[in-house]
Amino acid sequence: MKKLRLALGILAAWSVAVLLGPGLLTSGLTPSSIHTPPQTAADAQHEIAVPPPPFSEDIYPCSACHADMEVNLERRELEDFHDDITLEHDEENRWCMDCHDAENRDILHSASGEPIAFEESYKLCGQCHGPKLRDWRAGIHGRRTGEWNGRKDYLLCAHCHNPHAPRFKSMKPEPAPEKPGKIK
C-alpha cells in the first residue's frame, strides 16, 4: 500500500512537472526578454548620450574653411590639407565622401544619403558593423563607466578607434610584477 502511494506520488509530481514546465518557462522568460539589450528612454529613440566627438583641435566646424571652396567629387590623393590622414579603413573601396557630406561639411551621411551628425556617428559605423553596434548598445562592446545599476557613460566609436584607421593601436604595458625571489 505504501509503495503504491509512493509510486502514485512520483507519477503525479512528474506529470505536473511535464505539463507545467514548458508553460512556466515561456511565460516568464520570452525570447524577446532574454535577448533584448537594455532599453532606456534615450535608447528607444535611438539617441544615446555621449561625450562630444573627439575632433582634432581647431578643425570643427569644417564649413569654416569648406564654405568658400568648390566641391570636387573626384576621388584623389589629398595634397594641400588633410594630407596627414592615411585611410586604412577599406581604402580600396572608399574615400572621404563616402562618409563625409559634400553639401554640408559639418555632418556625415549614411550610405543611402541620410544626414548623420558627428554626435551620432555610431549610426554611420553601424551600417557595416551591425553586430558591434548591437553589442555596443547593450554595453558589451567598448568601455563603460558609471553605475552598474544606473547611469552609464558611453563613448562614441571614434573615441577609441580612429575612424580613418580603426585598428586598435598597440601600447606599452605597465611594468611586470616582481618575481617571488625578491620577497625578503
Binding site: L29, P38, A138, G139, I140, R143, W148, C160, P173, E174
Partner: protein, 304 residues
C-alpha cells in the same frame, strides 16, 4: 556512586573555571600593560558575521580613529550591507584584452594593496595563441615594448568568486565567507594567517601579508569598506572583492572602468537586462578549471 560523580564534576568545573579565569586575567593584564583600551577591544573583537549593528559601529569607529592616527588623514570605513536582489557576476573578453596591465595597477590604487613586498590581486597571463589556454606555459612576467605581442593572447586572472569556494571550506576559523550578493570576503581581524585558503584556491587568487602593512598617506584610497580595501594587517590573507566598497554603492569595479579596450564587464546576475546576462545569453562563455566544480562567477568570453 552519585556522590562520587557530583564531587568529580564539581572538581572538574572548578579547575576549568580557574584556568579560564586566570587565562583571561593574565591576557587582560598583559594587554592593559602594553596597550590602550582599543587594543583590548581589538583583541576581544568578534567575527564580523556575528557582530550586532552596534558592535559593528563601535569597531568602525575604533578603526577610523586608529587609521586617522596612523595615516594623518580621514579614512572612512563603511560596513554597507549587500543591496537587495543582487548577485554579482563578472565577464572578461579574451578576444579584446591586450595585456596592458592597467587593471593591475588600478586595482592596487583602489584597494590599498601593500607594495612592500609587492602584491597584485590581478595577474595577467600571456599565452600562445597556438596552444590556447595552457597554464603550464603561461607567462606572468612578460615585458615587451608594446602589447599585444604577436602570436599571443592575454588572460587576466583574479578571484573567480566561486559559488562553491574551496577557500571558504578550508578556513579553520570561518574568517572568510560568501556574502549575500555573492562576494567572497575576508574578515582581516578574524583571519589567523594559516594560509589554508591559499593552498585550497586553484586560481592563486589569495595573497598573504608577509610584512607590516605600510601605505603611503598621499596615495591611500580613503573610501574603504570593512570587508574590502581598508588597510590590512601583517599575517592576514586578502583577495579581490569585486571592489565591494564601490559595487555596493552602485559603481563599477575599478578594473572595469580603467580597461582601455573595454574587455571587462560587470553586473547583477539576477537582472535579466544587465550586461552580464546579455553576455551569458549571447556570447561564447567559459570558466577556468571547470572540472574542479568551483563554479566561478567570473566568466571569460569571446566578444567577436
Amino acid at each position: 556512586m552519585s556522590i562520587k560523580k557530583t564531587i568529580g564534576s564539581t572538581m572538574k568545573l572548578n579547575r576549568r573555571t580557574f584556568l579560564k579565569a586566570s587565562a583571561v586575567a593574565s591576557s587582560t593584564a598583559a594587554l592593559a600593560a602594553c596597550g590602550s583600551k582599543s587594543a583590548l577591544d581589538e583583541f576581544l573583537q568578534k567575527n564580523f558575521r556575528f557582530m550586532s549593528k552596534q558592535e559593528i559601529g563601535e569597531v568602525i569607529q575604533r578603526l577610523e580613529t586608529q587609521y586617522a592616527q596612523q595615516y594623518g588623514k580621514e579614512i572612512s570605513v563603511s560596513a554597507k550591507e549587500a543591496l537587495p536582489e543582487t548577485f554579482f557576476g563578472y565577464a572578461l573578453d579574451i578576444s579584446r584584452c591586450i595585456g596592458c596591465r592597467k587593471c593591475v595597477y588600478a586595482c592596487v590604487e583602489e584597494n590599498n594593496q601593500t607594495q612592500a613586498p609587492q602584491m597584485h590581486w590581478i595577474q595577467v597571463l600571456e599565452m600562445e595563441k597556438e596552444k590556447g589556454i595552457d597554464f603550464m606555459d603561461a607567462n606572468l612576467y612578460y615585458q615587451h615594448e608594446e602589447v599585444p605581442h604577436e602570436g599571443h593572447f592575454y588572460l587576466p586572472v583574479q578571484c573567480q568568486q566561486c559559488k562553491n569556494p574551496p577557500c571558504v571550506k578550508s578556513c579553520p576559523v570561518n574568517a572568510t565567507w560568501t556574502t549575500k550578493d555573492g562576494i567572497v570576503v575576508v574578515d582581516y581581524n578574524w583571519c589567523i594567517g594559516c594560509r589554508c585558503c591559499m593552498a585550497a584556491c586553484p586560481y592563486g587568487a589569495r595573497h598573504y601579508n608577509w610584512g607590516q602593512v605600510e601605505l603611503d598617506p598621499e596615495t591611500i584610497n580613503p573610501d574603504t569598506h570593512y570587508l574590502g580595501n581598508r588597510p590590512r594587517y601583517k599575517g592576514a590573507v586578502e583577495k579581490c572583492t569585486f571592489c565591494i566598497q564601490r559595487v555596493r554603492e552602485g559603481r563599477y569595479p575599478a578594473c572595469v572602468e580603467v580597461c582601455p579596450v573595454g574587455a571587462r564587464k560587470f553586473g547583477n546576475l539576477l537582472d535579466p537586462d544587465s550586461e552580464i546576462r546579455y553576455i551569458l545569453e549571447n556570447k561564447r562563455v567559459l570558466i577556468l578549471k571547470e572540472e574542479l566544480n568551483t563554479q566561478p562567477k567570473f566568466y571569460y568570453f569571446y566578444g567577436t
